[in-house]
Amino acid sequence: MIEPGPVTRALLETIGEVADDSHLAQRICTLCVTGLDIDGAAISLLIEGAEMATLWATDTTAELLEDLQFAMNEGPSIQAAAMGSPVLVSDLAEPSEASSWPMFADAVAERTSVRALFALPLQWGAITLGVLDLHRIQPGGLSKVQRRDVLAAADTASVLLLGLRTGHGDDRWLDPAMSHRAEIHQATGMVLAQLGVSATEALTRMRAYAFAEQRLLSEVARDVVSRQLQFSPEMS
């Protein structure tokens, strides 16, 4: 088993220590800056479906990069959130790299010295939470090891943020290593259909049930999938 990279490892140790999403965002961004070869980081969250708002930025450049994208409605983060795909740009000066967001690329070149940008969607299946954005003045990609680390960290960060969103200040709801098991996602789908709610709300209800019954979420998911447990709007 390959060891998690420094950023992911530090993030895993964070579990249970942060009370709200802006503290968590701060922790994630800071860990990225110290653990990777980048100059700044920011996390923006998706609110009300389409709009994004910056939750935390490590410096004014990071904040500016977010603001520019929101104002222009284009950029690697917007692309990453829309496509559900990481956007890793090693050099903005390369025409092929910035072809999807030319206005943003020009604005960045005019107003900053940033050349490298890495936008990682924070997502959990169809639930898109937001984006983790990293930047560097010096052009160049992330090393293979750092790329692996940051992708795993984004994955872990998604689980932690979703934990805060669907529980009561508790991000310790799911072992990140188990977060890809099909059952929990299948159960999410079944419950959202049973209740006529969003995937996030379905997850919140399953967690509340698991907590009330003192059971593991994975067990509840299994019962939902095997139809031993059905959620209804009347359930408290």
Binding site: T8, G84, S85, P121, A126, D155, G189, L192, A193
Partner: protein, 252 residues
Amino acid sequence: MSQPKDDREQLGRAFVELADTLVDDYDVVDLLDRLVGHSVELLHADAAGIVLVDAHQQLRVLAASSEDAELMELMQLQNDEGPCLDCYRSVAQISVADLAEEKQRWPRFVEAVAQQGVFRAVHALPLRLRGQAIGALNLFSAQPGALPPAALALGQALADVATIGILQERAIRRAETLSEQLQTALNSRLVIEQAKGVIRQHSNLTMDSAFDRLRRYARARNLRLSQVARDIVEGRLDPNALTSALMRNNRT
């Protein structure tokens, strides 16, 4: 016993379909799903699956010939030990003609397969790229027996097509693209699992049939599998539309 002529026709059909898929705007999970189907037919296997490695270095199932939980479990298990794990690590084909003889090699895996009592032979072919593997194609057979060299070569060719499909060949040069593509494909798979749940709830089907509905709807309309799945989960597409579409198709 299969007829050589049938095999050639099947191979031709598979080739045409895969080539067709690759030139259009396609969905990686859909491509792998088709490939798995062709692998089963062309290599006369009883089941097949494709696993890809994620950012946590875990092998995850991207496509399988059946959504049966037991098959999934056999592939998932191999994160700890098994022919698939060895194949991925060594970037080499691992062929097991009779699992009963490999208890020493992979005790837990062999035990799990024996418990299920379905498969006797397993073959794992690496999805290889520049000396490394990004995953593997797993083949399972109910009968013990080796795969003849021609079949292994064909299997490897199918695995290579899978790799190319994931990377969209012209972008292979960019290491970033590989990471981007893998992450996207892996998350797409989760969206599909969520959609299966929604469909199952609405129509009381098994997970396998639920996936089948989804896939048929997407293909009939030339839509991206993961987009249809996302539309279902986000409420933009009524799951009942999948059923009526199916019935309409059956009547034609």
